[in-house]
């Protein structure tokens, strides 16, 4: 009988604990330092060698002509955010930003031309939760 009642007790107990939810559109979690978000291109350092395009597993990077020089163009419809291009760039011209809200209404907007890729990341406009709090009152020995 107690094995029927105990879950009921547990359920009522947890009804008054602190919630886990991050209210996403209003507040966002701070990504970790190493987070692999949108790739930012440093146009001054880029030499247009094409290593990023060669190493990309999904062929998301193509080299395009821009102001008379070759620069990578990123297609985030294909990108898998593995970061091999950043690793292999001989001039460290590529860098991950923490921007991850890349959804768009059409496929064409996901193709980031060199000039668009060179823009700095947009800052978060909402409250930023730095880290998830662990509820020390959860678990046995605490109720």
């Amino acid at each position: 009988m107690s094995s029927y009642i105990k879950p009921l007790y547990m359920a009522w107990l947890h009804a008054f604990k602190r919630t886990f939810t991050v209210k996403y559109p209003y507040e966002v979690l701070k990504p970790a330092d190493r987070y692999r978000g949108r790739i930012e291109l440093n146009m001054d350092r880029c030499i247009g060698c094409g290593v990023c395009s060669y190493v990309c597993p999904n062929k998301a990077i193509t080299l395009v002509e821009h102001e008379g020089r070759k620069y990578p163009q990123f297609d985030y419809g294909r990108c898998c955010f593995c970061g091999f291009c950043v690793d292999h760039c001989p001039r460290a011209a590529l860098k991950h930003t923490h921007e991850y809200e890349l959804a768009s209404y059409n496929k064409e907007d996901l193709v980031f031309s060199p000039s668009k890729a060179a823009e700095p990341p947009k800052p978060f406009e909402r409250r930023v939760v730095t880290v998830r709090k662990l509820d020390s009152k959860l678990g046995p020995g605490h109720g």
């Binding site: 009522w12 947890h14 939810t21």
Partner: protein, 356 residues
């Protein structure tokens, strides 16, 4: 030229057939009619049920979410998503009502209307609180408990009808399960109710409540209370016993094919059923409208709200049982417990008669 006599209608007949307007208005505005209108439209009728469904859906989702350590409805309405049901209702109104090609069209569209009607009709027989010279009830009969349970046990037949009419394998399976489930809960439900009826000596809910002035029946009939609560949970398909509409197994049971507002009606009827079940539990075991200080109706609603919460929290407490396990529990556990309770009640009544 022959003058034909113009047929004349006797004045009495005219007055009888078409009553003058003033009398009509007077008749319609008579206190009896007005009272009936209030009962049907406000309490316990449409307005109350809409309000209850709104608060119940919100409360269930909130409670459920809190147990999950979530927040629950958050955006719509003033206090953290109270108007969620209205938003859902508007969405459902905008949806197309789809009829499956091979369905029996008439029965298919009749089923959701019937199940909603059936749930609402039950409200007409519940005496809610005493008013001078009687009770606040739409239609009073001394056998109202019997009528309510008889109407309640019609629900599986409508489910079978819907399941058959939808012409879908999952719907048919759900309909069969509805029939099985009827066998499991109906007998313990009646038996546990009988123990209260024996103690009160009446089939009238009002009398039963009146006889609980000194002591709520939950004390002498604790076993009966448990059995009644569990059987009622099976009757109104709350989570551990919602085998008929088991989502993970047979999609949505007999109601799989319904869309739009027909689906809305079905969901609404479930919440009406929770309201009625909570009223019944309150009145049979928890002293109905008795309580110090407040208006009887307030006490009734408070108790009923608490009982509803216990109906709702089952969803986040236990996983669903299998149909054979429910039948097993119904016949091997609930029926013997209910029988013990019936004999205990009889013994109590007998002892009371002998001793006093």
């Amino acid at each position: 030229m022959i003058k034909l006599p113009i047929p004349t209608i006797p004045k009495e007949l005219v007055r009888f057939l078409i009553p003058p307007l003033d009398q009509l208005v007077k008749g319609l505005l008579s206190p009896e009619i007005m009272e009936l209108l209030i009962k049907v439209l406000v309490f316990p009728g449409f307005a109350f049920i809409m309000l209850y469904a709104m608060i119940a859906v919100w409360g269930e989702r909130k409670l459920h979410a809190r147990v999950h350590l979530r927040i629950g409805p958050y955006h719509v309405g003033p206090i953290f998503g109270l108007f969620q049901l209205i938003a859902d209702g508007i969405k459902l109104l905008g949806k197309e009502i789809i009829t499956p090609e091979n369905a029996h069209k008439v029965l298919y569209h009749l089923a959701p209307i019937l199940i909603m009607t059936l749930s609402m009709v039950v409200l007409a027989f519940i005496p809610f609180f005493p008013v001078d010279g009687g009770y606040w009830v739409i239609y009073y009969t001394p056998y109202n408990l019997l009528v309510i349970l008889a109407l309640f046990s019609l629900r599986p037949f409508i489910m079978i009808m819907a399941g058959w009419a939808s012409n879908n394998k999952y719907c048919t399976m759900g309909a069969m399960r509805a029939a099985y489930q009827l066998l499991a809960y109906e007998v313990p439900l009646m038996l546990s109710m009988a123990s209260v009826v024996i103690l009160a000596g009446s089939f009238d809910l009002a009398k039963i409540v009146e006889s609980q002035v000194g002591m709520w029946y939950i004390a002498p009939c604790f076993l009966g209370f448990i059995v009644f609560f569990v059987a009622m949970m099976a009757e109104i398909c709350r989570r551990p016993l919602d085998i008929i509409t088991a989502e993970q197994e047979i999609v949505f049971g007999p109601w799989t094919e319904y869309t739009g507002m027909e689906y809305g009606l079905i969901m609404m009827s479930e919440y009406v059923d929770v309201a009625i079940a909570s009223f019944l539990v309150t009145m049979l075991f928890l002293g109905g409208w008795h309580g110090p200080g407040l208006h009887p109706l307030a006490w009734l609603l408070i108790k009923m709200g608490v009982v509803s919460a216990f109906f709702f929290i089952g969803r986040s407490t236990w996983p669903r049982l299998r149909i054979d396990q429910l039948l097993d529990a119904g016949w091997r556990k609930l029926v013997p417990l209910a029988l013990v309770q019936v004999f205990a009640s009889m013994l109590m009544v007998y002892l009371l008669k002998v001793v006093f």
